[in-house]
């Protein structure tokens, strides 16, 4: 079989795939490989960490989603799983670990405590959500969330990674968008953290909702 110049070359994905050629964008390749090899940081703060360990075990097996390589060093990881209550005493260390991670870096706030303080919200020693100091990509509610829920949060993060843009005008890939994100580490002073939140990342709404009569 021979081609002549008059014949039209079929460039549809089906026919090129048959010929052993894949056409794709660089973004797609980049995101596909990145999202299927997320290396989480190995650290746990409270009971959510037990569910995280369960997710890494053989029954739920986070390796099916390419995120089984828990790194003991923030320098080698892409994903920070804030698994558990962030006490005020622990918050500076969590922010410092986040600062040590290289870009691109993502954060999953796992469990009610990491999102808002959860059942300990009104406690004198608990931070009301890690999103007050570092940007959170996926919020995973639950107390604690089951391993299935953590896997779903990971899949949600993968979806987010697959939609990011590295090339072109509207870059959304955090590794190329701006420099490495480093946030000021809060200081423990008096009876609270200073500052109480990082206005760069989070600000309270202008008016507290439901403050007049509560939500009961």
């Amino acid at each position: 079989m021979s081609f002549t110049q008059e014949e039209e070359i079929d460039l549809s994905p089906e026919s090129t795939a048959k010929a052993g050629v894949i056409l794709s964008s660089l973004d797609w390749i980049y995101n596909w490989s990145q999202s299927n090899s997320v290396w989480p940081l190995q650290f746990g703060l409270a009971c959510c960490a037990i569910e995280m360990i369960g997710t890494a075990g053989s029954r739920h097996d986070i390796a099916r989603f390419g995120a089984e390589v828990f790194r003991p060093s923030p320098r080698q990881s892409d994903l920070m799983l804030v698994s558990g209550t962030v006490t005020k005493k622990m918050a500076p260390q969590v922010v410092r670990i986040y600062n040590q991670m290289p870009e691109p870096k993502y954060v999953i706030a796992m469990g009610a405590c990491a999102i808002s303080g959860g059942p300990f919200k009104q406690g004198y020693n608990v931070l009301k959500g890690i999103d007050r100091y570092i940007p959170v990509d996926v919020y995973l509610p639950g107390c604690p969330p089951r391993p299935e829920a953590l896997l779903h949060a990971l899949m949600t993060l993968q979806k987010k990674i697959k939609n990011q843009k590295t090339l072109g005008k509207n870059i959304t890939n955090p590794a190329y968008k701006e420099g490495r994100r480093i946030y000021p580490v809060p200081v423990l002073s008096g009876d609270d953290l200073d500052p109480p939140y990082n206005p760069e990342v989070w600000t309270p709404p202008a008016k507290n909702p439901n403050v007049e009569d509560g939500c009961e």
Binding site: K88, K89, Q122, G123, Y124, N125, K128, L188, S189, G190, D191, D192, P196, Y197, P204, P205, K207, N208, P209, N210, V211, E212, D213, G214, C215, E216
Partner: protein
């Protein structure tokens, strides 16, 4: 198995046994002597210190209603003075008896100092530090008395009844009970700052 507290009171006649709480009240200056005896006496052998807790009692009035002799209702007001307590729970592994509840009581909240039992029971070390941290009760003769849970430059003792945590109720999407009040306070504070 119960501990025979009569034997303790025979040995130390000036101690007080509180029936309400089934506990032995020991003044701080006698604590070491009493506890050493309890640990070493062959009938007691309280070799295990299970728990150390702090309790804060602010001064308060208690009103009770009761019928008097003429059959009329009468309200009696009792004044409870302020006090601080450190409660120790002892067991004996050897004799299989316990618990013995022993309290060191101080009648002052501002200047509360009790005697550390760490030189006798090493297990008391961290628990007494916790009581010091959260209640502000000082322990004399403690080898390493510093904060354990809160950070070193923390200014208050958070488990004291009169402690109010900082008002950071900026964002309370589901307020309830006293959270509503504090959120409203905070709202006013923020309005004042803006004005």
């Amino acid at each position: 198995m119960e501990i025979n507290h009569e034997a303790i009171l025979t040995q130390f006649p000036d101690l007080e046994w509180e029936e309400d709480t089934q506990s032995l009240i020991v003044p701080p200056e006698k604590a070491v002597e009493v506890v050493t005896w309890l640990k070493e006496h062959p009938e007691m052998r309280l070799d295990f210190l299970s728990c150390v807790s702090g309790v804060d009692y602010p001064a308060k009035e208690v009103k009770t209603k009761a019928r008097n002799e003429e059959g009329k209702m009468e309200i009696t007001v009792t004044q409870h003075p302020e006090k601080m307590e450190v409660v120790y729970h002892f067991y004996s592994m050897e004799k299989k008896i316990g618990p013995l509840v022993l309290k060191q009581r101080v009648m002052s909240r501002e200047n509360s100092t009790v005697t550390s039992l760490t030189p006798i029971y090493r297990g008391a070390d961290l628990m007494e530090r916790e009581v010091f941290d959260l209640f502000g009760i000082n322990f004399t003769d403690h080898p390493d008395l510093r904060r354990i849970l809160m950070w070193d430059n923390f200014e208050h003792h958070p488990m004291r009844k009169d402690y109010t945590p900082p008002n950071d109720y900026d964002y309370e999407p589901t307020p309830h009970d006293d959270v509503i009040e504090r959120a409203q306070e905070r709202e006013k504070e923020r309005e004042g700052q803006e004005a």
